[in-house]
């Protein structure tokens, strides 16, 4: 690896402060619409290319341009990638928030800021580096219209100098970003170089933080969860996609469109082996999915909380009429419009029981891009095998942020299409009863519309029906049907992805978490052990309905902390519905619901304070 790594002299540090290597969070405060995304992504990628485990979180407003945005990059030699509460470095570019951002820094932190903001006066326990961004950008970017965008690259260069980021890695990252647009690469790199040179000439390194190359990211990829879901759908063999734009889910379908156009055109005919329709609203998007799923397609939609609310009626129809369908819910903060660009796990109970009557749905809950990929494929298989809607429960943090990941493994299992009878089978059987539990697993056999034969057709309805799919209001028919659907849910309990367990042997304290909370829990487990000598066991849920192993896990432990990124402890309460009374008492709750991804310290503090009450 070519390196221009900068060695800092120990003597340059303020006395008594040790060098801190590969363990820092950088917060970049900008105005949205100012083009900082490129600079931030390039910075993240450069650190990743240096082999240092890294994560990036974009905290952005629900707005096109002009409101505050914060991007946090965490580099961690220990591989922690959850959000951290505090930062070692601040890049203050936004006049609106600069004072507040500086005042929030912990003592000893460093701040790069736009010279005009004159932030130095605010603190004397923070190391300041003032940069004249406007003066520096003018010579490297003669085109005035581009200056606003390019000027952000200057802080990449300044950070590169101050932290020891290899400039060559910045260049490689820029090439990745702009592909063949060499002019854009050069323009942006020159701006970064200007920042680097300015820092070399002007600054004395006075903070202890630095980055040094490691070998912890070799063979890994960087991807956001929404792209990973899109890839999952692509390799799941999705055929019909209908959607309505909503943050933070839109990029699932937008990315999917790009992949489908590239990889799913029939080579012989030049025609599409898929159909993607942007519907007029979520009511129509889910209706099209239902129509397509009924007709045999592997059909999906992607949405977020408000869209899910609109899809409630049709999802209940899908449950009762038994229609395979996949719904990606990239959760954001509610209630109502809520905080559209902030993250939460707020749709757990709603989706599990979505729609009126006794309705229950399968939820698959990825924690990483890799699981976004694998569980998306699983979702299409389960939907067709169990003939029911299946939710993939991602969230904004997972969906819209860039994550390090191992490359995705190619699916091993062939596509599962479930119990579908063809014309010959129907003829041989002398007909079939659509909703009859032939195999004892609650799942009936179906035919696909278009299957020839006088006995192959049947009538699907959301109103009461008997096992022959005929309209029925008879009490016995209704009960039989509902009991069969309950049996089918038990089949789902066995087929859904199992939880992953970490058993530490001492069965006192345990944590249950799901989705993106996983990363903060992993760090919290280390904190609990190191700081409190608490060896907690851990169970990560990956699906609803819960498998038996989850109940056994709770039964085995004395105190079980359930981590929820919502106010009402939704997963804890969903568990309570199914637990024995003695086990219900063991559940305790760690709740995090401020719109930011949960951090390890919040979980650790929450557990420690409740443990103290014992």
């Amino acid at each position: 690896m070519a390196t221009t790594h900068v060695e800092m002299k120990e003597g340059e540090l303020p006395s008594g402060r040790k060098k801190v290597v590969n363990n820092l969070s950088i917060q970049i405060a900008t105005v949205n619409g100012s083009g900082s995304q490129t600079a931030n992504t390039v910075l993240l990628r450069a650190i990743f290319q240096m082999g240092i485990p890294v994560s990036g979180k974009n905290l952005f407003p629900s707005n096109i341009a002009g409101l505050p945005t914060w991007f946090t990059i965490r580099a961690s030699k220990d591989g922690y990638i959850a959000r951290r509460k505090d930062n070692e470095y601040l890049v203050a570019m936004n006049p609106e928030t600069a004072e507040e951002d500086v005042l929030a820094l912990k003592p000893g932190a460093a701040c790069i800021y736009d010279e005009r903001l004159n932030l130095r006066r605010l603190r004397d326990d923070v190391v300041f580096y003032a940069v004249p961004f406007d003066r520096l950008v003018a010579p490297v970017c003669p085109d005035v219209r581009l200056r606003k965008l390019v000027r952000n690259m200057i802080y990449d260069g300044v950070l590169a100098r101050l932290l020891g980021i290899d400039m060559e890695q910045l260049r490689i990252a820029l090439r990745k970003q702009f592909r063949k647009k060499t002019k854009a690469v050069d323009l942006n790199f020159n701006a970064a170089q200007t920042g680097y040179d300015y820092a070399t000439k002007t600054f004395e390194k006075r903070d202890p933080y630095s980055l040094e190359p490691l070998d912890e990211t070799r063979g890994k990829i960087i991807i956001d969860g929404n792209s990973a879901c899109a890839l999952g759908a692509l390799f799941a063999g999705v055929t019909v996609v209908t959607w309505y734009p909503i943050t933070p889910s839109s990029t699932v379908c937008e990315t999917l469109i790009e992949y489908m156009k590239q990889y799913r055109m029939d080579k012989e005919t030049g025609k599409a082996t898929f159909a993607i329709v942007q519907a007029e609203d979520e009511l129509a998007a889910i209706g099209m999915v239902m129509g397509a799923g009924w007709a045999g397609a592997r059909a999906m939609t992607a949405t977020s909380g408000p869209g899910i609310s609109l899809m409630a009626e049709f999802t209940g129809f899908g449950y009762y009429a038994e229609i395979p369908s996949v719904i990606f819910d990239i959760q954001r903060v509610g209630p109502s419009t809520g905080l559209p660009t902030r993250t939460a796990q707020g749709d757990v109970i709603k989706n599990a029981l979505l729609s009126h009557g006794d309705t229950k749905h399968i939820l698959l809950i990825p924690c990483s891009p890799e699981e976004c990929f694998s569980l998306s494929i699983e979702a299409f298989d389960l939907a067709q095998e169990l003939q029911t809607p299946v939710f993939v429960m991602s969230d904004l943090d997972l969906g819209m942020n860039n994550w390090m990941s191992d490359p995705f493994p190619y699916p091993e299992k062939p596509i599962a299409r479930g119990k579908v009878l063809n014309a010959e089978e129907v003829r041989r059987l002398g007909g079939f009863a659509r909703y009859k539990d032939v195999d004892g697993d609650g799942v009936g056999y179906r035919t696909l519309p278009g299957t020839p034969g006088p006995l192959a057709g049947y009538f699907t309805r959301g109103s009461g029906h008997n096992e022959n799919a005929n309209y029925s209001e008879r009490p016995g028919d209704y009960v039989d049907n509902m009991d069969r659907l309950a049996r089918k849910f038990e089949t789902a309990r066995m087929k859904a992805p199992k939880p992953l367990m970490m058993d530490k042997g001492r069965h006192e304290v345990a944590i249950i978490a799901y989705g993106t909370s996983h990363w903060a829990v992993m760090e919290s487990l280390d904190q609990l052990k190191k700081e409190q000598e608490i060896e907690a066991c851990y169970c990560r849920l990956r699906a609803y309905p819960f498998s038996r192993e989850v109940f056994d896990f709770i039964h085995k432990h004395k105190r079980v902390y359930v981590v929820d990124q919502n106010r009402d402890a939704q997963m804890a309460n969903l568990l309570r519905l199914e637990l024995e009374a003695d086990d219900v008492k063991k559940l305790r709750s760690i709740r995090h619901y401020d719109g930011l991804p949960v951090d390890a310290r919040s979980i650790t503090d929450g557990i420690v304070s409740q443990e103290a009450e014992n």
Partner: protein, 349 residues
């Protein structure tokens, strides 16, 4: 005396694919005796039988309401889906995306279409998806016992004496304006016209919108109603005499090109429109809209084929969807090989 012989039973009459009318029937109707919807079901059975439609290719789709129950009463061996209120268009769209070989036959009502379902209706009309959309239009909610829908005429009176004070939505004018390519209005009591219009719809590859006035004998067939049998009979002004000649029959009908318009449909069938009064060109969208506006102002219920465009590109072709049904494409066509995943992963490193 010679041995008496029983004359051989005359073989049951079959259509061109060897099916009897019986094969196109459904279960017994549970709608009121005399309901216009039952007559429409009869015309659907007749049209499908005479056209030789393969029942298994038909997807019968509906929303909620009296009208939406009726797909159970025709084409027993077809595939049916009775969805949620006002959402038949999205179900039909999804089914056609999944399998373009299907014949989507949607049945809706005036409430299901013009009230709760108007959003999906207008967007469906924009797409020109190949399907038939029938509104069984009686201006009133039956299952909830007689409230006005959005196609009820202003001034029309309910049995309870309540007078409708809002103007109706003209679903035909909307459909024409938005892009549907086969738009007609008919009357459940006009067997000949409705049958010909249904056959024409079966021959079309685009969105067919048929608003069929279908009186509700229980809640809207009284003095003061503008959707009663007697009112519609008195005010029905057929635009033309509609004749349909399927592609598998020769055009043996003599017609005068001066008074009759011959429209060649997508499958080679012909619709012959013998004008009854003034000259009318059913391929002109502007003229169709003018006709509907003027006849409404005159208080007439004009019926017939208002607009047809047999060559407009349909939604599936616009999407460039492959000829085989997407629903049954083999894994080799829908799951890219491992090399593709490797290539994508490499790019993300």
């Amino acid at each position: 005396m010679a041995t008496s012989t029983v004359p051989p039973a005359s073989p049951a009459k079959v259509n061109r694919i060897g099916l009897q009318v019986l094969d196109y029937r459904g279960s017994k109707s549970t709608l009121c005796a005399g309901c216009g919807h039952n007559a429409i079901s009869e015309r659907i059975i007749e049209a499908c039988y005479e056209m030789g439609v393969e029942p298994h290719r038909v997807a019968k789709l509906s929303g909620i309401g009296c009208s939406s129950k009726s797909p159970a009463y025709f084409l027993r061996s077809a595939y049916g889906l009775n969805a949620v209120h006002g959402r038949m268009p999205s179900i039909a769209t999804g089914a056609m995306l999944a399998n373009r070989h299907l014949i989507a036959l949607g049945v809706s009502g005036d409430g299901d279409t013009a009230s709760i379902g108007i959003g999906q209706f207008v967007h469906l009309m924009r797409r020109n998806m190949p399907l038939i959309y029938i509104i069984e239009d009686n201006g009133v909610y039956g299952l909830t016992k007689g409230q006005f829908s959005a196609t009820a005429d202003i001034g029309s009176k309910l049995k309870t004496g309540v007078v409708n004070d809002l103007p109706p939505i003209d679903t035909c004018a909307l459909a024409i304006l938005l892009g549907a390519t086969y738009v007609a209005r008919s009357f459940s009591g006009d067997k000949k016209q409705l049958s010909a219009l249904l056959k024409g719809a079966l021959a079309h590859r685009g969105t067919c919108m048929l608003d069929v006035i279908s009186p509700c004998v229980t809640f809207n067939d009284h003095e003061g109603s503008t959707k009663s049998y007697s009112y519609v009979k008195d005010h029905d002004e057929p635009l033309a005499d509609v004749n349909f000649v399927p592609y598998f029959e020769d055009i043996a009908v003599d017609y005068d090109p001066g008074t009759t318009t011959n429209i060649t449909m997508h499958d080679g069938s012909h619709i012959l429109l013998r004008k009854l009064e003034e000259s009318y060109n059913p391929t002109n969208r502007t003229e169709a809209l003018r006709l509907l506006t003027e006849s409404r102002e005159r208080g007439e219920i004009i019926t017939g084929l208002f607009y047809v465009n047999p060559t407009q590109e349909n939604f599936l072709d616009l999407l460039n969807v492959t000829d085989e049904p997407l629903a049954t494409l083999p894994e080799s066509k829908v799951r890219p090989p491992k090399e593709v995943l490797d290539e994508i992963m490499q790019d993300l490193m």
